[in-house]
Amino acid sequence: MAIDKAMNVLIVDDYKTMLRIIRNLLKQIDFNNVDEATDGAEALAKLRSGSFGLVISDWNMQPMTGLQLLQEVRADARLKSMPFIMVTAESKAENVVAARQAGVSNYIVKPFNAETLKEKIEKVLGHA
Protein backbone atom coordinates (compact mmCIF):
# COMPACT_ATOMS: atom_id res chain seq x y z
CA MET A 1 0.00 0.00 0.00
CA ALA A 2 1.49 3.33 -1.09
CA ILE A 3 2.04 5.85 1.65
CA ASP A 4 0.71 9.34 1.13
CA LYS A 5 3.71 11.46 2.09
CA ALA A 6 1.77 14.66 1.50
CA MET A 7 -0.26 13.99 4.65
CA ASN A 8 -0.05 16.30 7.63
CA VAL A 9 2.05 14.91 10.47
CA LEU A 10 1.82 16.27 14.00
CA ILE A 11 4.94 15.93 16.14
CA VAL A 12 4.66 16.52 19.89
CA ASP A 13 7.57 17.05 22.28
CA ASP A 14 8.39 19.51 25.05
CA TYR A 15 12.00 19.74 23.85
CA LYS A 16 12.11 22.16 20.94
CA THR A 17 15.39 20.61 19.82
CA MET A 18 13.75 17.21 19.56
CA LEU A 19 10.94 18.66 17.48
CA ARG A 20 13.52 20.13 15.15
CA ILE A 21 15.39 16.83 14.86
CA ILE A 22 12.25 14.84 14.09
CA ARG A 23 11.05 17.47 11.62
CA ASN A 24 14.38 17.25 9.75
CA LEU A 25 14.39 13.45 9.78
CA LEU A 26 10.83 13.44 8.43
CA LYS A 27 11.86 15.89 5.72
CA GLN A 28 14.64 13.54 4.66
CA ILE A 29 12.08 10.81 4.06
CA ASP A 30 9.83 13.24 2.17
CA PHE A 31 7.27 14.11 4.83
CA ASN A 32 7.24 17.87 4.41
CA ASN A 33 3.90 18.81 5.95
CA VAL A 34 4.79 18.77 9.59
CA ASP A 35 3.17 20.68 12.44
CA GLU A 36 4.38 20.85 16.05
CA ALA A 37 2.99 20.95 19.58
CA THR A 38 4.86 21.09 22.88
CA ASP A 39 2.42 19.13 25.05
CA GLY A 40 -0.61 16.88 24.82
CA ALA A 41 -3.18 19.61 25.33
CA GLU A 42 -1.82 21.76 22.51
CA ALA A 43 -1.60 18.67 20.30
CA LEU A 44 -5.18 17.64 21.04
CA ALA A 45 -6.46 21.10 20.13
CA LYS A 46 -4.56 20.95 16.82
CA LEU A 47 -5.79 17.44 16.09
CA ARG A 48 -9.40 18.42 16.75
CA SER A 49 -9.22 21.49 14.57
CA GLY A 50 -7.03 20.13 11.78
CA SER A 51 -6.58 17.21 9.46
CA PHE A 52 -3.65 14.94 10.27
CA GLY A 53 -2.63 11.51 9.09
CA LEU A 54 -0.07 10.66 11.77
CA VAL A 55 0.91 11.66 15.32
CA ILE A 56 4.44 11.20 16.62
CA SER A 57 4.47 12.04 20.31
CA ASP A 58 6.78 12.13 23.29
CA TRP A 59 5.38 10.75 26.56
CA ASN A 60 6.79 12.84 29.40
CA MET A 61 5.24 16.29 28.97
CA GLN A 62 3.19 18.68 31.08
CA PRO A 63 0.36 19.49 31.56
CA MET A 64 -0.94 16.67 29.34
CA THR A 65 1.32 13.67 28.80
CA GLY A 66 1.67 11.66 25.63
CA LEU A 67 -0.27 8.79 27.17
CA GLN A 68 -3.14 11.09 28.13
CA LEU A 69 -3.09 12.49 24.60
CA LEU A 70 -3.26 8.97 23.21
CA GLN A 71 -6.21 8.14 25.47
CA GLU A 72 -8.02 11.32 24.37
CA VAL A 73 -7.36 10.51 20.73
CA ARG A 74 -8.68 6.97 21.09
CA ALA A 75 -11.77 8.27 22.91
CA ASP A 76 -12.56 10.81 20.18
CA ALA A 77 -14.95 9.49 17.55
CA ARG A 78 -13.25 11.38 14.72
CA LEU A 79 -9.64 10.71 15.79
CA LYS A 80 -9.84 7.21 17.22
CA SER A 81 -8.21 5.52 14.21
CA MET A 82 -5.34 8.03 14.00
CA PRO A 83 -1.94 6.31 13.64
CA PHE A 84 -0.03 7.23 16.81
CA ILE A 85 3.66 6.58 17.42
CA MET A 86 5.10 7.16 20.88
CA VAL A 87 8.73 8.35 20.85
CA THR A 88 10.06 8.43 24.38
CA ALA A 89 12.97 7.79 26.71
CA GLU A 90 10.62 5.75 28.92
CA SER A 91 11.84 2.26 28.18
CA LYS A 92 10.42 0.11 30.96
CA ALA A 93 8.21 -2.78 30.01
CA GLU A 94 5.31 -1.40 32.01
CA ASN A 95 5.45 1.80 29.96
CA VAL A 96 5.24 -0.07 26.70
CA VAL A 97 2.40 -2.21 28.04
CA ALA A 98 0.46 0.83 29.24
CA ALA A 99 0.90 2.54 25.87
CA ARG A 100 -0.17 -0.58 24.03
CA GLN A 101 -3.23 -0.93 26.24
CA ALA A 102 -4.09 2.69 25.50
CA GLY A 103 -3.93 1.89 21.80
CA VAL A 104 -0.53 3.11 20.64
CA SER A 105 0.30 2.16 17.04
CA ASN A 106 4.02 1.88 17.63
CA TYR A 107 6.66 2.83 20.20
CA ILE A 108 10.16 4.17 19.69
CA VAL A 109 12.68 4.54 22.47
CA LYS A 110 15.00 7.55 22.53
CA PRO A 111 17.68 7.87 21.40
CA PHE A 112 16.58 6.48 18.07
CA ASN A 113 17.97 6.49 14.56
CA ALA A 114 16.42 7.64 11.31
CA GLU A 115 16.04 4.10 10.04
CA THR A 116 13.94 3.12 13.07
CA LEU A 117 11.70 6.13 12.61
CA LYS A 118 11.26 5.39 8.91
CA GLU A 119 10.57 1.73 9.54
CA LYS A 120 7.93 2.41 12.22
CA ILE A 121 6.20 5.05 10.12
CA GLU A 122 6.01 2.73 7.15
CA LYS A 123 4.72 -0.06 9.35
CA VAL A 124 2.07 2.09 10.97
CA LEU A 125 0.90 3.80 7.79
CA GLY A 126 1.06 0.58 5.84
CA HIS A 127 -1.49 -0.84 8.25
CA ALA A 128 -3.60 2.30 8.54
Partner: protein
Protein backbone atom coordinates in the same frame (compact mmCIF):
# COMPACT_ATOMS: atom_id res chain seq x y z
CA UNK B 1 12.28 -12.56 80.26
CA UNK B 2 9.51 -9.99 80.96
CA UNK B 3 7.60 -8.56 78.02
CA UNK B 4 8.37 -4.81 77.80
CA UNK B 5 6.39 -4.22 74.62
CA UNK B 6 3.36 -2.60 76.27
CA UNK B 7 5.52 -0.34 78.45
CA UNK B 8 7.70 0.66 75.51
CA UNK B 9 4.64 1.40 73.40
CA UNK B 10 3.13 3.57 76.13
CA UNK B 11 6.42 5.42 76.56
CA UNK B 12 6.70 5.94 72.81
CA UNK B 13 3.20 7.40 72.77
CA UNK B 14 4.06 9.75 75.60
CA UNK B 15 7.26 10.83 73.89
CA UNK B 16 5.37 11.45 70.64
CA UNK B 17 2.82 13.53 72.54
CA UNK B 18 5.60 15.54 74.20
CA UNK B 19 7.27 16.09 70.82
CA UNK B 20 3.96 17.32 69.40
CA UNK B 21 3.28 19.68 72.29
CA UNK B 22 6.84 21.01 72.57
CA UNK B 23 8.30 20.88 69.04
CA UNK B 24 10.97 23.47 69.80
CA UNK B 25 12.46 21.64 72.78
CA UNK B 26 16.12 20.72 72.62
CA UNK B 27 16.32 16.87 72.68
CA UNK B 28 19.57 16.97 74.65
CA UNK B 29 17.99 19.16 77.33
CA UNK B 30 14.97 16.86 77.57
CA UNK B 31 17.26 13.84 77.86
CA UNK B 32 19.14 15.60 80.71
CA UNK B 33 15.89 16.33 82.55
CA UNK B 34 14.61 12.77 82.12
CA UNK B 35 17.96 11.41 83.25
CA UNK B 36 17.93 13.65 86.33
CA UNK B 37 14.38 12.67 87.29
CA UNK B 38 14.93 8.96 86.73
CA UNK B 39 18.21 9.01 88.67
CA UNK B 40 16.28 10.11 91.77
CA UNK B 41 14.00 7.07 91.27
CA UNK B 42 16.72 4.45 90.82
CA UNK B 43 16.01 2.78 94.14
CA UNK B 44 12.34 2.35 93.22
CA UNK B 45 12.87 0.94 89.71
CA UNK B 46 12.16 -2.62 88.67
CA UNK B 47 14.56 -4.51 86.37
CA UNK B 48 12.55 -3.75 83.17
CA UNK B 49 12.33 -0.07 84.14
CA UNK B 50 16.07 0.05 84.74
CA UNK B 51 16.64 -1.52 81.34
CA UNK B 52 14.31 1.01 79.77
CA UNK B 53 16.13 3.84 81.55
CA UNK B 54 19.38 2.58 80.11
CA UNK B 55 17.85 2.51 76.61
CA UNK B 56 16.57 6.08 77.02
CA UNK B 57 20.01 7.23 78.15
CA UNK B 58 21.64 5.59 75.16
CA UNK B 59 19.03 7.13 72.88
CA UNK B 60 19.81 10.54 74.35
CA UNK B 61 23.49 9.99 73.67
CA UNK B 62 22.77 8.91 70.08
CA UNK B 63 20.74 12.10 69.54
CA UNK B 64 23.50 14.24 71.05
CA UNK B 65 26.14 12.57 68.87
CA UNK B 66 24.01 12.95 65.73
CA UNK B 67 23.48 16.61 66.51
CA UNK B 68 27.21 17.16 66.98
CA UNK B 69 28.00 15.36 63.73
CA UNK B 70 25.39 17.36 61.82
CA UNK B 71 26.78 20.60 63.26
CA UNK B 72 30.27 19.57 62.15
CA UNK B 73 28.97 18.94 58.63
CA UNK B 74 27.56 22.49 58.43
CA UNK B 75 24.38 21.09 56.88
CA UNK B 76 22.83 24.53 56.71
CA UNK B 77 25.43 25.32 54.04
CA UNK B 78 24.21 22.33 52.02
CA UNK B 79 20.66 23.65 51.75
CA UNK B 80 21.56 27.35 51.70
CA UNK B 81 24.42 27.31 49.25
CA UNK B 82 25.78 24.02 47.90
CA UNK B 83 22.58 22.51 46.48
CA UNK B 84 21.20 25.75 44.96
CA UNK B 85 24.61 26.33 43.39
CA UNK B 86 24.74 22.76 42.03
CA UNK B 87 21.25 23.00 40.55
CA UNK B 88 22.11 26.33 38.91
CA UNK B 89 25.21 24.76 37.36
CA UNK B 90 23.18 21.82 36.05
CA UNK B 91 20.54 24.16 34.63
CA UNK B 92 23.34 26.05 32.89
CA UNK B 93 24.66 22.78 31.40
CA UNK B 94 21.21 22.07 29.93
CA UNK B 95 20.99 25.60 28.53
CA UNK B 96 24.48 25.48 27.00
CA UNK B 97 24.03 22.05 25.41
CA UNK B 98 20.67 23.18 24.02
CA UNK B 99 22.33 26.23 22.45
CA UNK B 100 25.14 24.13 20.99
CA UNK B 101 22.69 21.57 19.63
CA UNK B 102 20.61 24.28 17.99
CA UNK B 103 23.75 25.63 16.31
CA UNK B 104 24.65 22.17 15.03
CA UNK B 105 21.13 21.61 13.72
CA UNK B 106 21.15 24.97 11.97
CA UNK B 107 24.39 24.04 10.22
CA UNK B 108 22.96 20.67 9.20
CA UNK B 109 19.89 22.34 7.76
CA UNK B 110 22.18 24.59 5.70
CA UNK B 111 24.01 21.50 4.42
CA UNK B 112 20.70 19.85 3.55
CA UNK B 113 19.86 22.97 1.53
CA UNK B 114 23.10 22.63 -0.42
CA UNK B 115 22.36 18.95 -1.13
CA UNK B 116 19.53 20.00 -3.42
CA UNK B 117 22.11 21.53 -5.77
CA UNK B 118 24.45 18.52 -5.89
CA UNK B 119 24.25 15.51 -8.14
CA UNK B 120 22.37 12.50 -6.77
CA UNK B 121 25.40 10.57 -5.51
CA UNK B 122 26.89 13.45 -3.50
CA UNK B 123 23.49 14.58 -2.32
CA UNK B 124 22.84 11.10 -0.93
CA UNK B 125 26.21 11.04 0.84
CA UNK B 126 25.62 14.48 2.31
CA UNK B 127 22.14 13.52 3.50
CA UNK B 128 23.50 10.36 5.08
CA UNK B 129 26.00 12.46 7.02
CA UNK B 130 23.42 15.01 8.17
CA UNK B 131 21.08 12.20 9.19
CA UNK B 132 23.78 10.81 11.48
CA UNK B 133 24.23 14.27 12.98
CA UNK B 134 20.47 14.69 13.54
CA UNK B 135 20.40 11.33 15.27
CA UNK B 136 23.37 12.18 17.45
CA UNK B 137 21.82 15.51 18.44
CA UNK B 138 19.03 13.71 20.25
CA UNK B 139 21.56 13.32 23.08
CA UNK B 140 20.44 16.76 24.22
CA UNK B 141 16.95 15.51 25.02
CA UNK B 142 18.30 12.51 26.90
CA UNK B 143 20.93 14.39 28.88
CA UNK B 144 18.41 17.13 29.59
CA UNK B 145 16.01 14.61 31.10
CA UNK B 146 18.77 12.94 33.09
CA UNK B 147 19.96 16.25 34.48
CA UNK B 148 16.40 17.21 35.35
CA UNK B 149 16.18 14.00 37.37
CA UNK B 150 19.42 14.85 39.17
CA UNK B 151 18.10 18.34 39.93
CA UNK B 152 14.89 16.86 41.36
CA UNK B 153 16.93 14.47 43.51
CA UNK B 154 19.07 17.33 44.78
CA UNK B 155 15.94 19.28 45.67
CA UNK B 156 14.62 16.29 47.62
CA UNK B 157 17.95 16.06 49.46
CA UNK B 158 17.77 19.79 50.17
CA UNK B 159 14.29 19.34 51.63
CA UNK B 160 15.42 16.43 53.82
CA UNK B 161 18.47 18.36 55.02
CA UNK B 162 16.25 21.30 55.93
CA UNK B 163 14.02 18.92 57.91
CA UNK B 164 17.03 17.45 59.74
CA UNK B 165 18.36 20.90 60.58
CA UNK B 166 14.93 21.93 61.91
CA UNK B 167 14.56 18.71 63.92
CA UNK B 168 17.94 18.94 65.60
CA UNK B 169 17.96 22.71 65.96
CA UNK B 170 21.45 22.95 64.54
CA UNK B 171 23.04 26.39 64.85
CA UNK B 172 23.68 28.28 61.62
CA UNK B 173 27.28 29.20 62.17
CA UNK B 174 30.16 27.16 63.49
CA UNK B 175 33.35 28.78 64.66
CA UNK B 176 35.95 28.46 61.92
CA UNK B 177 39.65 27.82 62.35
CA UNK B 178 42.52 29.95 61.20
CA UNK B 179 42.87 30.13 57.42
CA UNK B 180 45.82 30.85 55.22
CA UNK B 181 44.78 34.20 53.76
CA UNK B 182 46.81 33.83 50.56
CA UNK B 183 45.45 30.36 49.83
CA UNK B 184 41.89 31.40 50.67
CA UNK B 185 42.10 34.48 48.41
CA UNK B 186 43.36 32.50 45.42
CA UNK B 187 40.77 29.77 46.00
CA UNK B 188 38.08 32.43 45.83
CA UNK B 189 39.30 33.26 42.31
CA UNK B 190 39.09 29.69 41.06
CA UNK B 191 35.39 29.11 40.38
CA UNK B 192 35.33 27.60 36.89
CA UNK B 193 32.92 28.87 34.24
CA UNK B 194 30.40 31.40 35.49
CA UNK B 195 26.64 31.12 35.19
CA UNK B 196 25.38 33.28 32.31
CA UNK B 197 23.52 35.63 34.66
CA UNK B 198 26.73 36.33 36.58
CA UNK B 199 29.23 36.28 33.76
CA UNK B 200 30.74 39.12 31.78
CA UNK B 201 30.78 38.67 28.03
CA UNK B 202 33.83 39.49 25.90
CA UNK B 203 32.73 43.10 25.27
CA UNK B 204 32.39 43.65 29.05
CA UNK B 205 35.89 42.29 29.56
CA UNK B 206 37.28 44.43 26.71
CA UNK B 207 35.67 47.52 28.24
CA UNK B 208 37.07 46.68 31.66
CA UNK B 209 40.58 46.23 30.28
CA UNK B 210 40.30 49.47 28.34
CA UNK B 211 39.37 51.34 31.53
CA UNK B 212 42.89 50.68 32.84
CA UNK B 213 44.51 52.45 29.88
Amino acid sequence: MPDNTAETSALTQRLDECRRRYPESDPAMVADVVRAVLTTMRGDLTAPETSLLHEVEELGQVIANAKAEIEALRVDDISASHIPSATDELDAIVAHTAMATEAILETCEALDGIADRLDAEYAAKLQEATTRIYEACSFQDITGQRITKVVQTLKRIESKVTQIVATFGVAGEMPGGEVDFAVETEAALLNGPQLPSLAMDQSDIDRLLASFD
